[in-house]
Symmetry: C2
Subunit: 233 residues, 2 copies
């Protein structure tokens, strides 16, 4: 069911697909420069304050980008799915990471030195536009998120997170179960609330038959209602 191992050629294929803008020479250049790194569940990929050196591409697995705030509370900023790029923003901004990243699940990451990427961006406009588009999308999401997290109430925020997880990682074959199994704490950190409130609100949702919970497995039953709750806040 789950692919146990990814061959080198499959990786190159994924990347080649993403790097469609590149010409033959540039692809070769890239193929010579990337390395593969595997991360265990919960393993940290990079930390806040570190200097970015590589463009990261999630080949396989699930990753969270988060930020530790005041009083040990952590906020999940975004989540990464295969095959998405991350870890490059800080480099382009000319600073260090303001976020940290860790693996939700065992993950395989392709790493490309940022200088190599920068060189390619300089000579390939389509690639530059790829980054412009991606950054623009992420910035829009971030702006939306700021308002949602600050203004919506707990139920709205949790409903939003559940829908967000569905959009990000999809559902299992049954068409209902979220295909990511998060701890209550991660769910809380995604929704800007305490763990207890995540637990409570989640069971409320279950009582109201909006979802069904079985440990970390969450089935979305009444998605329309969840959308409504998310919308009105």
């Amino acid at each position: 069911m789950v692919k146990k191992d990814i061959t080198e050629s499959e990786i190159i294929e994924s990347i080649a697909d993403m790097w469609r803008p590149l010409n033959e020479e540039q692809r070769k250049f890239l193929a010579q420069h990337f390395t593969i790194q595997r991360y265990k569940k919960n393993e940290t990929i990079y930390c806040e304050g570190e200097t970015p050196t590589h463009l990261l591409c999630l080949i396989n697995g699930k990753v969270k980008v988060y930020k530790d705030g005041v009083g040990g509370r952590s906020q999940i900023i975004r989540v990464i799915k295969p095959v998405e790029y991350f870890g490059y923003r800080a480099y382009f901004a000319g600073g260090n990471f303001v976020t940290a990243a860790a693996a939700f699940e065992p993950s395989t990451i392709c790493m490309i030195p940022m200088d190599a990427v920068y060189k390619l961006v300089q000579e390939n406009n389509e690639l530059a536009l790829f980054f412009i588009k991606q950054l623009s999308i992420d910035l829009g999401i971030s702006d939306e998120r700021t308002v949602n997290l600050t203004q919506k109430h707990i139920r709205g925020r949790l409903a939003e997170s559940l829908l967000f997880l569905k959009d990000s990682y999809g559902l299992e074959e049954d068409g209902f179960t979220l295909s990511i199994y998060l701890s209550r704490e991660d769910l809380a950190n995604l929704s800007n609330m305490t763990t207890s409130n995540a637990i409570r609100t989640l069971s409320n949702f279950a009582t109201e038959k909006l979802i069904a919970i079985d440990g970390r497995k969450i089935k979305l039953i009444d998605e329309e209602k969840l959308k409504k709750i998310s919308k009105i806040g």
Copy 2:
């Protein structure tokens, strides 16, 4: 004291300065395509949901980018000072505005059709990198802001806003007074709190001699203490 009128040539100069990457031909192209628009105090520049058509460059004045959330509450996302570009994110992301923009003060804005900009970005890599850098910086700020607004307490958020305004618009000649005069409501919308709490917290700061208030004039007296309050939340 305040420049009453800006000549056409001054505008072209400002823009030429920002568009350093461009060659002679490209500058000419640009000079043929821009238009100037003036906005009154509090006038809306663009609205959420509208389709972006122009790159906007604030020549003169002060602008807020904000988002209306649930229950009529508004959140100021970022502020623009001369000579900064804005209004282009949504175009690059391929969607409509998710924010709105309005003038804090009478403002002069240079508008360049996005198709013209896109064309230039396609043929000029340095320009593309300019946008990549700007978007990367803004995304970093937005991520920081998300956590600050959600996790810090009122005093921390307000202190942060005051420092943020100083960084954005600077101080007057006395070296203390913020050179932007905001309503308490705007201050509240910047800091994610109600107007009453902005008023209250502001007078607390004044009582504690961290600031001095005279109507909308705010003098930063003990900046170090403000920084500390902002940091610890």
